[in-house]
Structure formats: structure tokens, C-alpha cells
Amino acid sequence: MGLASWGGCRLRPDFPRSLLTVLVIALFLALPGAARAQEDPFTDIAATSADVEARGVTALAISGNPRAATVLDALRDGKLYAWKWPRPDPPLYIRTDRGYVDARTGDPVDAPALTNIRKVIVSDAVRAAIEIAEAALDLFAKDVAARRKAAEALFLSSDPSALPLIEKALAGEQDSEVARVLREAHAAALLKSGTGSEADRLAAVRDLAARADLQSRSLLQSLQDQPARVAAAIASAIAGIDHKMELWGLAENVYYGISLGAVLLLAASGLAITFGVMGVINMAHGEMVMTGAYTTFVVQRLIAAFSPALDQFGLLFAVPAAFVVAGALGVLIERTLIRFLYGRPLETLLATWGLSLILQQAVRSAFGPTNQDVTSPAWMSGSIALGGLTLTVNRLWIILFAILVLGALMATLRWGGLGRSIRAVTQNRRMAAAMGIRTPVIDALTFGLGSGIAGMAGVALSQIDNVSPNLGQNYIIDSFIVVVVGGVGNLWGTLVGAILLGVVDKFVEPFAGAVLAKILVLVLLILFIQRRPGGLFPLKGRVAEA
């Protein structure tokens, strides 16, 4: 394509791009890299190699061809077809609802034989190229956020051919934040291009060193054949970033540990009631968690069916629903099974283990063996950058939720009417009965409370794990460990035990690997329990003997 169609593109009144865009494209066209593309910008777009195809996309985007946007859209939507066999000027087609059109001209053509054409494949690399091409056009948008996003995309692509474009945008940029990102993008592109004076390059290295994140580190490390002084600056910049990353890495590990601890705490809180307070070894505890997760799934389905507007808030309804469903199931289990087994731990263990298998297979029969699709709402996705930390939002919510659940549980036990009765019954059953407390009812309600809390844990776990019949199995061992380490019958102990286990696990993991970390943590546990059989906070006095 030569200058002729340039004229054509400006003359066409329906051409949607603004004059500014044309200027941008003109800037691009002045670049040596784009010179190839002037012949036929469509040459490489249907290449069978993803690499060549991605370059073809960029070439087409910056060629200024009026059909570029349409063809790129068609490509992205999988509607672009190419001639299958080698021939000069291979035709390109776009499939529309009404038949095929020529991709280069937009004119309708007779449908080609299906054996002669192939769909042009869109791989992720090509999609990325399309994204960047579109970002470049957003650099002059009115919206600050859009400009910033475009600048970030250009930084990530660090494409030297974008240099003049970035310089132009930088000259006119008012927003300091966007200007900073643009400077970084400029630095990246400049260093990548291998041009520029030594002073320019040193300044660019400084800009990237100031950004100090993994992307800038990656970029700096990829640079080769730099003058000695620049190379030295790069090396020290990388060392500086590494040092900073190491410090942030420690903080990050603590965060990972706490968030793992919060998950353990949620899973174990219910058990702290049934096992810790009542002394029932409930092997079906994990299945209560699973019940909660499946309740979440059902609630989400119901909401999707009846009021899609509340789609984002399904979890808020799922929490009380899971508490009620799992709690009711707990009461049922206590009344029909566990009350006949009080004081016989071995039989309880076997009976509840059998029960856990029954519940698993029941769910498998009812919902099928496959994982169920529990979606994460938008407000629980993504991450927040805090300095060098990446805090994932779903984990933050789970930490908050764990604290709320534990707080509510403690408040109930301390001040609530049910809590008072529970404490009375566990401390002195016969005295409590003599005072008019109906101990069998309290037993059932206590077990229901513990199960209900396990159900709420299931809502949280549905956000980070698979909702499958095996969900509970993965947490039952950890839950028991947390309760035992913390000290049976002590909620504060459960809190400290969970956080401690989480943090120890995450600090061992980077050195030992996930498999060995698990083993090491268990070995440490055995040693700990041998030293302190009562856990971190053993109950003392008369309560302990009751």
C-alpha cells in the first residue's frame, strides 16, 4: 500500500478515526521498522507462525490502512479466513452473517470452497498484539485512567518502534502519574532500541530502577551489549531491585502465612466447638465444610435463576444459608448418631468416619462427581499493590471473614444465652442439669453451632478451592492439628495455632518446596506435642479434669 491509499483514507468521509490518530499513524510510518509494511500490510496477518502473525498484526495496526480495525476485529473473533495453499497474493476473507467479503476491500465475494480456505488461528500472542495496538491509540484519550492503562501497556511491550509516539504523548501529558509511566515506557523502549546517547541510557536505567518492580527487573536483565558505564548502572539497578524485593518478600511470606492461617482458622473454628468443647471426635467435620460449599453453589444457582441483579452478592446470602443448612445437618447427626456414643471415643471416631464416606458419596450421587462451578464476584478478584506487596483480594476478604466468624463465636460463648448454657454444660453437666438446663438440647445445639460454623467456612473455601465431594477431606487433618496445637477447648489457642501453622508453613516452603514443607511441619508438630501435650494454651484446674 502506498501513498495513494493514504489520500484515500483521508478523503473517505466515513473513516472513523480522528485527525489525531492519523498524525499518530504518520509518526509510526516515519519509522524504518514500518517501511516493510507499506507494501501489503496484510501479508503476515494470516501467517501460520504465531510470531510472524503477531508482527503482522502490529504492522497492520500501524499501517493506517482503513480496513485495519475491521480486519483485526474479525481476526480476534475468529472470522478471518485465508487461502490454504501457496499462491501469489493469497486472498483473505471475512465471514459475515451474509456470506464472505474480501478482507482487503470489504467487497462481497462468492463463497470460496471450504477445502481451499482455513480459519486464521488467533493465539494468545496475537491477541496481545491486538491489545497493544489498540492501547497505542488510547494514549491520547481524554480519560486519565485509559491513558495510564495505554502507557502501562506500552511499558510492558517495550517496543522500540513506539518511541516517537511516546515522546509525542509525553510532551503533551498534563497528569504527573501518567507522565511518570510514560517516562518509564520511554526508558524501556529506548533501552530496547539500543540507540540513544550514554547519558540518555543512564537516565533511562535510573527511571527503571526507580520503578523497581519485577517487570523493570526483567527488562533490565534482558539488555545486552551496553556500554561499560551503562552496564554497570544496570547491574547495580538490578541488585537494588533484588534487595528491595527480598525485604518485600519477607513481608509477603508473612501475608501468605496469615492468609493460610485464616483458612485453617475458619476450617478449625467449628471443630474447636465440637471437638474442643464437647470432646466429640467428629471425622465428618470436613463434610460439614463441604455442605457449606455446596450450599454456596445452590444459592448462586438460585440467584442466577430468580434475580440475576443480585449476582454479585450471592455470597452474602450464602453465608447464613450455609450456617443454617450445615447447622441443621449437625443437629440431625447429633440426635440420630452421636448422642448414643458419648464417652466412647473410638466408636465415635469410626461412626463419624463412616458417616463422612456416606455424605461424600451422597453428594457425589446428587450433584455428580465433577467439580461445581462457584463463581467469584468481581469484588473478590484481582489484587491490591501495596509497595512491593501483591495482596490478593480474595485472601484479604477471607482473613476479614475469619476474624469476624471467630469474634462472633467468642461473643456468643461469652455473652449469649446459648453460650452460657454451653459453658455450664461442658464445665459441670450434672450441676447444669440440676439448675434446669436441658442438657440433651444444649448438646444438640452445640454440635449444630460447630457444624454451622464449618458450613460458613465452606462458603469461604468455595472461593479458593474446588467445590467437589472431596473438599472436606483436604481440611480435616489440618483442622485437628490446629485445635490440638492451640490447646483443646481454647478458642484463642485455635487462633494462635492456625496463624502459627500458616506462617511456619509459608516460611519453610520457599526453602524446602511444598512437599518437604508439609513433612517438616508435621515433624515439628510431633516434637511440639511431645514437649507440650496440652498444646499452646492447655486448660488448667478443674475444667481440665471434667
Binding site: A47, T48, S49, A50, D51, V52, K84, R118, I121, V122, S123, D124, A125, R127, A128, E131, L214, R217, S218, L219, L220, Q221, S222, L223, G249, E252, Y256, S259, L260, V263, Q361, R364, P369, T370, N371, Q372, D373, V374, T375, S376, G382, S383, T390, T392, V393, R395, I464, D465, N466, S468, N470, Q473, N474, K506, E509, P510, G513, A514, V515, K518
Partner: protein, 450 residues
Amino acid sequence: MSSEKFTIDRRKLGLLGAGLAFTASRLDLMPSLIPQANAQTAAPTSGEPIKVGILHSLSGTMAISEAPLKDVMLMLIAQQNAKGGVLGRQLQPVVVDPHSDWPSFADKAKELLSVDKVAAVFGCWTSVSRKSVLPVFEQLNGILLYPVQYEGQECSRNVFYTGAAPNQQAIPAVDYLMDQVNVKRWVLEGTDYVYPRTTNKILEAYLKSKGVTDADLMINYTPFGYSDWQAEVAKIKAFGSAGKKTAVVSTINGDANVPFYKELGNQGIKATDIPVVAFSVGEQELAGIDTKPLVGHLAAWNYFMSGDTQLNKDTVAAFQKSVNDPKRVFNDPMEAHFIGFNMWVKAVEKAGTTDHDAVIDAMIGVSYPNLSGDYSTMMPNHHLSKPVLIGEVQENGQFNVVWQTPGLVVAQPWSPYLPESKNLIGDWLPPMSCGSYDVVAGKCLGTKKA
């Protein structure tokens, strides 16, 4: 698909050609073999049904993957019966449930072979279940058709491996990343059991033979059902910031995958930054999960449900009709059963009997159309020739094929990249008749056919 860059090098093409030529040359030998086999067992005249064993877990943790394979087998058997059965006799499925328990697999296999006297068994999923039934099949001289991609390093006379060997899945996937995506740094991330360990050992040797240094290679293992991926993903992210294109080759087992991809998404790693190519994530695993965090990541298989051949569309439609659920998916191991079952039918018809020895010999050289539009052939090493496809996960849980091998790839059950197996080949045709033949020493390391 034509491609400027063939990632199958000449050596492999040569092997492929040699394999095909070999089969072709042996095909005409077959008729002379079969009458001998026939002579031993008289063709059955009674209308008694032929029993076919189905050994897949219908309960327990593996039910998620294995239960659909039972459904596909029941459909195939029903279809064959509607066509008049085999040798004029109806087929009768015998379904047993080893409930995801490895020793049970051996017990149930024994039951199928010695009590029910089935003509063939279609079954197993995990390598450990296959290893546990292997002695049973060898002792009782049964036939097992094993439909799942696996780590290789095995070639039994009594097993037909209709899934992929490592060179039909893992190696082409790595080639794709190396040549098409220009990946220079590699993370081999796997669940801690035999399949990922062996596959990664092969991949490590392969990558090193291509000049990848230890500094550019990271190998991690996590326990089964791992769900707390925060630290692992952070490690991958840091590893990927060394200025070279990085990719993750994932042999992570089914259930741990969703939390893994979720964590990648939440920590802001997109498929364009660090692509993940998985060997255990297929349509079945994607069914019923939130696919948003996976979009754009890759999987390597020999079949994708999205393939647009007519045979594929018909088969999928027939399957969905047979289970009465238009949403059910069809995946690679199911296609393997489709091919394996039809090959077994052809072999029985060719042999004129269900006698195990005769059918085992008759299986070699049988060709049947696979659902991707080519003909797969049962090679003398009891593995299939297969196309290898790389697909990208799409929002609807299906795959968009981005690359495929220019032709079919012949399996190498013994990896040429591992020192202990580099001289071994498997060939169950005479004169070799050996599953592990050392071509340098010139002798058979395993048991020869009796």
C-alpha cells in the same frame, strides 16, 4: 496445516516414516499369521454374548475423570450391538467399580479375567492403577486397553496404550513453546507422583539437550489436592522476571489446577506474560468451573472436542444423546476409547475369534479414523500413531487449536532422552516379540512372548 517451522525434526519424521513403512510391510504378513491363530481356537458357533470388561472408578476421588469413560464405553458397545455385534454375537458389558482404590483395581481385574472371562478390558486412569493391574493381565494373559496419556517407560504385550506417550504430548508442547513462543526459561510444575516425576525427568533431559541451562530451569512439586498456591505462584513470578520469556509446563493433577490458575489470575499473571501449558487439563476438568482465570492458557492433547470433522460432531452428538445430557463434554481419553474399542472390534473380526493371543497379534497394524480427521494405526509397540494439538482455553471451557503437528506422531514408549531407556524399543511382532529390546546389546530385557 502447513507451517513455516516444523517442530518435528528430521529424526522424528524419519522415525514416523520408518514406523509407517514398517507397519505397511508387516500388514501383508498378517494374513499368514492369522490362520495359525485360528487353527488353535475353533470359531465359536453359539450365539452366546461376548463379554467386555469396563474397569473404571465410579466412586471415590477418581470418579470425576473415570465415570464418563464408562458412559462412552456403554455407548460404543450399544452402537456395535445395533450394528449386529461382533462375529455375529452380541457384546455384553461387565461394569465393575474399583472405587479409586489401587489394590481394588487388581482384585477387580482378576475377577473380570478369571470369573467373567471377558474378551477385553477397557480401563484404568492413573499410572498407579495401571501398574497394579499389570501383573494380573500378564499372568492371566488378558487384554487391557488403557486410554490415558501417561509417562511411558512401559510396553507390555497384554496392554494396548491408546493414550499418548510423552513424545506425543509433552515433547511437542515444549517444541511449540520453544519455537513459536520463543520461551527461554522453563518452570516444570507438577503434582508429586509417578506421572509428573517421570515426565519432568524426560523433559529436563530434553530441554538440556536443547541447550537450556540449570539456571533457566525450575522444577517444583506440590502434594495432591494442593490449594494454597500463593508462595508457589510468587516464586514463578520472580523466576519469570529474569528478562527472558518464561513458560510453565504443568503436570499438575486435576483438582489442584483450579486454585493454581485462580492464584495466577489474582496475582496479575496473564497468559501473555507467562503461558502455562498443561497436560492434565481437558474439557472434562474445565466443565463446571469458573474458566475466566484460565482463558488463553494452553493444553496439549491428541484430540479436542472443538475439532470440526463430521465424525467428531456425530460421535459427540451420539454420546450426548446416549447419556441424555446435551451439556456433557467429550475429551481425549474418551476419544482414545473410541479408537481403541473400534480397533479391538476390527481385530476380533480379523482374527475371527476372541482368543486373547490371536486378538493381540491381530491388533497390530489395525487402522481406524480418529476424531481429528486422520487415521490412527496400532503400532507394533502397542501404541497408536496420533496427531498432537495445542489448544488455548476459551471462556466456554472449550479449546481453540493454535498449533498442530504436520502429521501423525508415532509413540516412543521408551524415552530416548533418558540414559536407562535410550537404547530400548518395543516391538511385539516376530522375530523380536519383545516389549523392551536393547538395540545396542541386541537382546530382550523383558519377557519374550511365550
